[in-house]
């Protein structure tokens, strides 16, 4: 029972569990939650599934869109998403890596038009098995690097 109070329950909103420690703050960043509403973060819980520990993020009074929860899969492919309404789990959402990424991933190529000329960041999935994406401007193929994920443009 003690565990239930480490990150208090919410009545409405979105709960993201099984985020590998210490990436919860990165999830906050790529969702653009920084100045918006109330969210609670728990860091470093023990987890059978994640030997390095897990983080939990609870976002109050906001139901994330599927496009947003799929973005989480870029850094936390095993994350579980529960949508809470009136204190109950109304939806257990399965996430999968997105076909397209807009805005949140910076191209690692410093000479790309997205870094030099103000083009809007846009990647398309190149290979699902290797989780690689192709920049739609410089055409460079890149793996997901958490440091290159930022707040949405």
């Amino acid at each position: 029972m003690e565990r239930a109070y480490k990150v208090y329950a919410i009545n409405n909103g979105t709960v993201i569990d099984h985020i590998p420690t210490p990436l919860a703050l990165k999830v906050v960043e790529i969702l653009g939650l920084g100045n918006e509403g109330i969210f609670t973060i728990g860091v470093g819980f023990q987890s059978k599934r994640l030997p390095g520990g897990k983080d939990i993020l609870k976002i109050e009074n906001r139901i994330l869109l599927e496009s947003e929860t799929d973005t989480i899969a870029l850094i936390a492919p095993d994350a579980t998403i529960n949508i809470i309404k009136d204190g109950r789990v109304s939806e257990k959402r399965i996430i999968s890596i997105p076909q397209s990424i807009f805005g949140v991933m910076q191209c690692p190529n410093p000479n790309c038009a997205t870094n030099k000329l103000g083009a809007h960041r846009h990647f398309e999935l190149e290979d699902k098995n290797t989780m690689t994406y192709r920049c739609q401007y410089c055409e460079r193929v890149t793996e997901i690097i958490p440091e290159n994920l930022t707040a949405p443009e």
Partner: protein, 293 residues
Amino acid sequence: MTTQDLWTVVTTAGEVKAGMHRGCLLDKTIASLFFEPSTRTRLSFESAVVKSGGSVFGFADPGSSSQKKGESFADSIRTVTGYCDAMVIRHPVEGAARLASEVASVPVINAGDGANQHPTQTFLDLFTIYEEFGRLENLKIGIMGDLKYGRTVHSLTHAMSLFDAEMVFISPPSLKMPSNILSDLREKGVSFRTADTPEDASDMNLDVLYVTRIQKERFGDPLEYKNVAHGYRITRDTISALGEQVRIMHPLPRVDEIAEEVDSTPNAIYFTQAHNGVPTRQALLGLVTGGIN
């Protein structure tokens, strides 16, 4: 682009060279925006416009553009799009032409974007090969030089893989074809091998040896560069080893990688290749502006 699109450009270039589609750019104005220096590409585009009856304006030096005053690239394109029927852009930043195509209301032709693509070079390479052999399918192609960084050879490799080419990649160990390109070829079932010297491919009866420059700045040690570059110099002896059927291509400029003694042989087609830039670009401009249907 699809294989059919490539064919359309190649066959139209042949028609232009044969005298068809005269005046296909009459009353058309083409903007030539070169944000970095270029000789062959810019002059052949401008020649293509004039030969087809169009007019051309622009700049050959980014110092003369209003970006010097702080205007954004996108705003420059949004402005120029109102002055022309199509624009040709070379820019040192990768993806610049794609960004331009998103904000322009006229067709944009990429004349080279940094280390990314130089598609019109590939079109003229394909046209030259087609003109020489009467086909693009089932040819044996050797590609030699800086295969690691050369955008021209990457694009040509991709294009030839669409036509069931058998390929050999000849380079020093430090400048080999990137592994992701080789993986793509394997996935497509393309037949290829690698070699250290052109002579290693003498058993293949190559149709084409496509030579590119090995750049001195890729080597930290000048002596190492000299030693490596020496092994990648095409002479009459190299042609004898490869067989008299082989045709030598090069995107130019060359430095030392093809001996001048090769120029006068029937194997050398690199100046014809450079000249083919004009009908190829006439064809492209005619197609994108509607002057050729």
